[in-house]
Symmetry: C2
Subunit: 343 residues, 2 copies
């Protein structure tokens, strides 16, 4: 019931500065969030949530400033939940708890906030995580752009898991769970002045379920990363740098949708550098790649999984791609900012 | 060495959109943060930090949007560390780990970011907490106001501690650790167009050390809250509401600096509603108030501690103040927003 989630009693259907005052109107907004995101820990409304996850923990944070806040396949709320869940999953952790902090521009329609909170509710429920603590700030009109969201997340790391950007080893096989560039191009297509005749949707999705399947298939997953800002190229450079290895990928093996290819061509973008929000790249022991792939392909977020390359020893830090033409190209990290505010 | 912290190789001395791209320039900025905030967990630069605190945990978040970002007695970086530490301390937790997320407006002078990071470094060191994970976003000029910071924090709750806004009991004594209103008035004094001839500084401070002393003095601390946005009046109303009790305070016992009093008079503000960033109010068992007070007065952030009232049974949810004139006034929660972007 997204339309009944926020029942702020105000003369206005827009966010007022007073909604961020800490006083009565703030409490009204918080009550409306509670109605949507209710759980025993959050409902206590103490200055901190008290939780008892036990064991080794993963802890991460991201702010989300995507523009526009609604786009094909998602919105800033879904993104803020999935992005942080995925960062936890990328160290092999099972996500449990999220914090949720809004920075709202004065004048935001309450109906927009309702839609975002409803989306957060739906995404947290689907991914089995709970928002346990939060914050709301409102800033004057013109000092933010509608809505920024920060989420931090806590997950538990299973004993035995040792997944890190530092752990890729020569010989490892690189697996990608599906086509790249959907998120960046979907958001771009929604921006004022740019419109493609396409049904393309953001790939925005929580990957914790997929990672759980992968871990059930093998303990020899050495490295997981989600290629968000900066795209697959930047992520592979991070892995090569942190692990002190080189990476070789094959252009023909990297899945890219036709719509993404043609949009990229039109805009002078390279899909390798376009952001994803439901993709991961894994470096796994060569003997286990097949069983991991098999498991991935049975999961809705891994149906199009592909082996895209391998980890090498020579020239540590370097990423090279064998192109469709048979030539070899060095793939550098993203320089500059072709797509600001993509996440 | 604040001036050497950021060594971004760029033609500009200002933040560019590309510093938030996730690519090369983002990595340069992150390296500069690492130089300042280095610790083994943060330095791994995985998608999540992996930590092992054990036991019951406190988890909290706040975004900081204070304007201006530098003010007498502090800056947005110090505030972002202290505010989150204090939220952890308010459930009796010992703060350990922080996340740190920047939303930066394109064009922010790098020197401003340097000052803020140096301040974060100093404050985290003084309070014995570590930044273990972070994020940096850059948004186009005019879509944020210089710099917003979000911190989330994790702390451990000592066994036996059961401190909550729900736990104030009739008969409890209310202790405040010092004069109110300093932060709000100090920030206001710095704003364009408003200037007081005063040396007043923000009270912005990490209160975890003081709370540790209080807990060493007594286990019968039932409730702790830091009166930030909305001031002491709003905090007392929260406690009265959550605990289902009433609260009686005495105007003459509430410490307020002369400068704050006169500034408030001039501006038509009530110090009870002005934000603090280094204050706490405690509801403690009556027999333990003296020993807690004694311990507080020996701590630098508790020297001016005062017993300001007591918790009652009748009229649950109500806060009343006995004025200097001997009359009784109902103290309601803040309504409206007299001081936007105070934290």
């Amino acid at each position: 019931m997204p339309l009944t989630i926020i029942t702020v009693k105000t003369m206005s259907d827009k966010i007022l500065l007073a909604h961020g005052s800490g006083g009565k109107l703030t409490h009204d907004v918080i009550r409306s969030f509670l109605a949507a995101l209710s759980n025993p820990v959050l409902n206590r409304l103490d200055d901190s949530a008290v939780i008892e996850p036990g064991g080794r923990l993963a802890f991460t944070t991201d702010s989300y400033v995507v523009q526009p806040i609604f786009f094909p396949g998602g919105d800033i709320g879904k993104l803020a939940v999935c992005g942080t869940i995925n960062d936890l999953a990328m160290v092999g952790a099972t996500p449990h708890y999220l914090s949720l902090a809004f920075i709202i521009e004065e004048g935001l329609p309450l109906s927009d906030l309702e839609r975002v909170v409803a989306s957060i509710k739906e995404t947290t429920a689907a991914a089995d995580v709970a928002v346990v603590t939060g914050d709301t700030k409102v800033v004057n009109r013109g000092t933010a752009d509608k809505l920024f969201i920060n989420t931090a997340g806590i997950g538990t790391v299973p004993s035995g898991a040792n997944i890190s950007g530092h752990n890729a080893r020569p010989g490892d096989v690189l697996i990608l769970n599906g086509p790249i560039g959907d998120h960046g191009i979907a958001v771009l297509s929604q921006r004022e002045g740019i419109s493609f005749a396409t049904d393309l949707k953001s790939d925005c999705a929580p990957l914790n379920g997929l990672v759980a399947e992968m871990l059930a298939a093998s303990h020899n997953i050495h490295c997981l990363r989600d290629p968000t800002r900066g795209g697959l190229a930047t992520t592979l450079n991070e892995i090569a740098g942190q692990s002190g290895v080189s990476i070789r990928i094959y252009e023909e093996k990297i899945p890219v949708r036709e719509e993404v290819s043609s949009a990229c061509e039109m805009l002078g973008l390279d899909p390798l550098y376009v952001a994803n929000e439901g993709k991961l790249v894994a470096a796994v022991a060569p003997g286990e790649a097949d069983s991991i792939m098999e498991r991935m392909k049975r999961h809705k977020y891994g149906q199009d999984a592909a082996i895209i390359g391998e980890v090498k020893e020579e020239n540590p830090g370097r990423v090279v791609m064998k192109t469709r033409l048979g030539t070899t190209r060095i793939i550098d990290m993203l320089v500059g900012e072709p797509l600001p505010r993509i996440c």
